[in-house]
């Protein structure tokens, strides 16, 4: 059987991110942080793609995508 492991992860459109930090506040795994006051950055190893940040983001520039594990 061919099983491709897939997992979900948050992606930030960093060109539009305003670095407000709303995503950081709601992340239960501390998997997202603001990089040098410029934009949000996702820790790929920690993120499980729960989508809380995407829901919170006032600019709606985070989306959850499936990636191959």
């Amino acid at each position: 059987m061919n099983t491709v492991k897939k997992r979900r992860r948050a992606f930030v459109d960093q060109t539009l991110c305003v670095a407000c930090g709303c995503c950081v506040k709601v992340c239960p795994l501390k998997a997202i942080e603001i990089f040098k006051g410029i934009m949000a950055q996702v820790h790929e190893d920690k993120c499980v793609g729960c989508g809380r940040c995407a829901k919170e983001c006032p600019a709606s520039v985070i989306d959850i995508r499936e990636v191959q594990a």
Binding site: A19, G21, K36, G37, I38, P58, A59, S60
Partner: protein
């Protein structure tokens, strides 16, 4: 998540708005919301103010989130574009300098004190009840009226976009946020 002391700074923001109705001179305290983010971004190169300490953002979060006063829709694309954000910053600056100019005119004696709060740069609201005279020059009061106008206007805009879009939509086009982000970008290069 355990709450820290800075998670309650929305109380400060709310108090500030109320104090402006009591005595306009309290408006001067609002300068803290201008200087602290700038100092943090210049010295540390971070947006820690937006990220942690911004009471206004927290207030929108509380009203739009906990109180459910937000439709929680996506903000229109043009509102998060760089053109709009930078344009709004420039417009905000222009209005700010115009306010400083008015303050200067009162200080220099060529203009009388106007006890009004200008909402949305257009509507002149009588605000004489919050002025009880001062030991200081009338220009000090003029700055307070002008600065409170800036703060009240931006709060009203923020409340409108909070209702229409997500609670902290204001953060997307907040001039202070845009400015501190630009400073951080410049520092990182």
């Amino acid at each position: 998540m355990k709450k820290k002391w800075y998670d309650y700074l929305w109380i400060w923001s709310l108090t500030y708005l109320i104090l402006g109705f009591v005595n306009i001179l309290f408006a001067w305290l609002g300068l803290l919301c201008f200087f602290i983010p700038l100092i943090i971004s210049v010295t540390k190169g971070t947006k820690a103010y937006c990220n942690r300490y911004c009471g206004r953002g927290q207030l929108f979060s509380v009203l739009g989130g906990r109180f459910g006063l937000s439709r929680k829709r996506d903000i229109p694309k043009w509102m998060k574009s760089k053109a709009f954000r930078y344009g709004f910053l420039i417009f905000f600056f222009a209005m700010f300098f115009q306010m400083l100019w008015n303050t200067y005119l009162v200080f220099s004696g060529s203009q009388n004190l106007r006890q009004v709060v200008k909402l949305l740069w257009t509507f002149k609201l009588p605000w004489h009840w919050a002025y009880h005279g001062t030991l200081f020059h009338a220009g000090v009061a003029q700055f307070a009226f002008g600065f409170y106008s800036v703060m009240l206007t931006s709060t009203v805009l923020g409340l409108i976009t909070m209702v229409l879009f997500k609670p902290r939509s204001w953060c997307v086009y907040c001039p202070m946020g845009t400015m501190t982000q630009l400073i951080c970008k410049a520092k990182a290069n």
